[in-house]
């Protein structure tokens, strides 16, 4: 079984043996973080507003109106904060718009409520509130809207401060531009954070997809050969003389399927050498119904690493299954050879062949033979043409010298290119 990383969210149709624990996505976690950060920032501003209001309500031209505006801002802010915490998101909820509207309203209101204290006094808290509202709006509005809204709010702020007749216009402009300045910075920061979370989620989805693909491939590897055996066993027209060989093959496939299902399969007790000869001998078992011609003496003694031995044997078996199913061959040659630095196994049939330009390789030849062997540094060449049969050539490097090497390197042969 291919191990599934712990952080990968199990898919509904995925491995039922995996964990059923649901893990939030990175995007969800990022939104939750923003939904905690926004109320916290607003909380700090609210404390400032409340303290400033308590200290300055006496100097207000309209204390009741001043208190009413402050209470309205605090109430809407608290509702917006609770909304974020409840929904675990700043992107939804009903209190964003009233919050924004209050920011627009508070700026001209201060000209009436706090005349003479509009500039340079926290008693006129509307600017600080507008900066915070504009910055937090970057968490729930699209970036372009954030920019335009914050610039509009800055212009609105500058206009009313200028109208108050307090301060110089450069200092008023600087104060006002703080609104879009913070809003744009927050917008960029959140855009980056959300993009990062999306990338993490995409990477995780890719990992899950790759895991599923691996699992599917492994399943296909496991059932490909079994399919042909079962089909032939169920076919009433399968010749009686083929059945004994098919039954032996079915037994082997059943053992492989048991392994796939996780049950301990009986391991072969073969303590023999892993050579090209024993590999071919094991691979051709159960194919007595095929017109096999073995010519492996030249390469039989070549030792193979366990992985290569098993993979190449599986590849030969797959090719023979294909021959049995599709080739209609009168002769199937399995040839082995070595030139002292490489070994070669050729499986060739004289069957119907196929057009390589028009007919792509099936799963067996493409995956079970070519891709699997490629991963073990065994080169595969597949050649076929209609009416000319199919030849599969597998070439690997000798990891240790073949014992009692009595053969000479191939001289001028047609198959040992490169």
């Amino acid at each position: 079984m291919v191990p599934v990383p712990e952080h990968v969210t199990p898919l509904p149709s995925g491995d039922i043996r995996g964990s059923a624990r649901t893990v939030p996505s990175a995007t969800q976690r990022a939104e939750r973080g923003i939904a905690l950060l926004a109320p916290a920032v607003r909380g700090v501003v609210l404390v400032q507003i409340i303290l400033a209001a308590m200290a300055n309500v006496r100097v207000s031209a309209h204390p009741i109106g001043y208190v009413a505006l402050t209470v309205a801002v605090v109430a809407v802010s608290v509702l917006a904060m609770l909304q974020c915490l409840a929904l675990r998101s700043v992107r939804r909820g009903a209190w964003h718009v009233p919050d924004l509207a209050l920011a627009w309203l508070a700026l001209p209101a201060m000209n009436l409520l706090m005349p003479g204290h509009v500039v340079g006094d926290w008693g006129s808290w509307a600017t600080g509130y507008a900066i915070n509202v504009a910055a937090l709006s970057a968490s729930w509005l699209p970036p372009t809207v954030v920019v335009s809204t914050s610039l509009g709010l800055a212009a609105w702020c500058f206009t009313w401060k200028l109208a108050s007749g307090e301060g110089s216009w450069p200092s008023l402009l600087t104060d006002s531009l703080t609104i879009p300045g913070y809003a744009i910075v927050v917008a960029l920061l959140l855009h980056y954070l959300r993009g990062l979370a999306a990338d993490v989620d995409q990477a995780r989805e890719d990992a899950v997809a790759a895991t599923r693909a691996l699992e599917l491939q492994r399943y296909q590897l496991t059932v490909h050969d079994a399919t042909s055996v079962l089909r032939l066993l169920s076919d009433e027209e399968t010749p009686v003389e083929v059945l004994p060989g098919l039954r032996r093959q079915a037994d082997l496939e059943a053992r492989r399927l048991r392994t796939y299902l996780g049950e301990p399969a009986p391991r072969p007790t073969d303590d023999g050498q892993r050579t090209v000869g024993t590999m071919v001998a094991a691979a051709v078992q159960g194919f007595e119904d095929l017109p096999l011609e073995l010519a492996i003496e030249l390469g039989a003694q070549v030792p193979l690493p366990d992985q290569v031995w098993a993979a190449t044997g599986g590849a030969v078996t797959t090719v023979l299954h294909n021959v049995r199913l599709h080739a209609e061959a009168r002769q199937v040659v399995v040839h082995a050879d070595t030139d002292g630095s490489t070994w070669e196994v050729v499986v060739s049939d004289d069957g119907v062949g196929f057009d390589q330009d028009r007919q792509p390789l099936g799963f067996g030849l493409n995956t079970q033979v070519r891709e699997v062997l490629s991963g073990l540094d065994v080169r595969t060449r597949i050649e076929s043409a209609p009416g000319r049969g199919t030849t599969v050539t597998m070439v690997g490097r000798l990891t240790t010298p073949a014992p009692e090497q009595t053969t000479e390197p191939q001289r001028g042969g047609t198959h040992r290119r490169g």
């Binding site: 017109p291 011609e293 010519a295 003496e297 030249l298 009168r330 002769q331 199937v332 040659v333 040839h335 050729v346 060739s348 049939d349 004289d350 050649e383 043409a385 000319r388 049969g389 030849t391 050539t393 009595t406 053969t407 000479e408 191939q410 001289r411 001028g412 042969g413 047609t414 198959h415």
Partner: protein, 234 residues
């Protein structure tokens, strides 16, 4: 001894003209009865159940199609009935060309048949057209070998046997030993299919010469078997 069983009117075909005239020697009644029907491209002029019968009543033919394992069906038949290499030598000494007709596939056994005097081997499981072509080729003086003998040829050559194959012949044998199609190997070697077949035929002739002319010990060493394992009856 039983005489030949005439299954077709004997005609006087010249070598290379018309269907080859063949005699079939096989202990299977079914094969003797059905060979002519299955192989309409051959003129089966007589069939025999044993080499001794043919030896006693020989008839003129182009090729003798000889089963490798001959058993007398009659319980009282002598146990010394000729078969295998002894049967081949007998027919060869009578001056006939021999096509071994068998399902034996062990290359060394078939090699011994060539050494004993056979001109070619064809399998009973081969399609009829293959057998017909093999007999035609043998009538033309060619040597016909099966896939297992092609593999043996490559093995002997690689292990230093004095087959004296040319580089081209070696390439053709190497490709055929791997089961390559004639068209493919001809394309790979940049020669025509006909030329490839000529190289192949020349190599087969060299194989037969080697098997006939080389000492048993040398052949056994080249094949990699112990002295006397194959040639203890010679």
């Amino acid at each position: 001894m039983a005489g030949p069983t005439a299954v077709a009117e004997t005609s006087d075909h010249g070598e290379g003209a018309g269907p080859p005239r063949v005699v079939v020697i096989d202990d299977s009644t079914v094969i003797r009865g059905g060979f002519a029907t299955v192989h309409p491209g051959l003129d089966v002029i007589a069939t025999y159940a044993a080499v001794e019968d043919f030896e006693a009543h020989p008839v003129a033919c182009d090729v003798v199609v000889l089963d490798l394992l001959l058993r007398r069906p009659e319980p009282q038949a002598p146990s010394s009935a000729k078969q295998g290499r002894a049967a081949i030598r007998t027919v060869r000494d009578l001056g006939y060309r021999i096509c071994i007709y068998t399902d034996e596939r062990r290359s060394l056994v078939l090699a011994l048949c060539l050494r004993a005097g056979a001109d070619g081997v064809v399998h009973k499981s081969d399609p009829p057209e293959v057998a017909v072509q093999a007999v035609r080729d043998i009538r033309q003086g060619q040597v016909v070998v099966t896939q297992s003998l092609v593999g043996l040829t490559e093995l002997l050559d690689r292990r230093g046997a004095t087959l004296e194959l040319s580089p081209r012949q070696r390439q053709v044998i190497s490709a055929r030993a791997r089961g390559r199609h004639w068209k493919d190997l001809a394309a790979t070697l940049y020669i025509t299919e006909g030329v490839a077949r000529e190289h192949y035929q020349a190599a087969c002739v060299k194989l037969r010469h080697y098997l006939r002319d080389t000492s048993p010990g040398d052949i056994e060493r080249a094949v990699g078997i112990g002295p006397g394992d194959l040639f203890d009856d010679e």
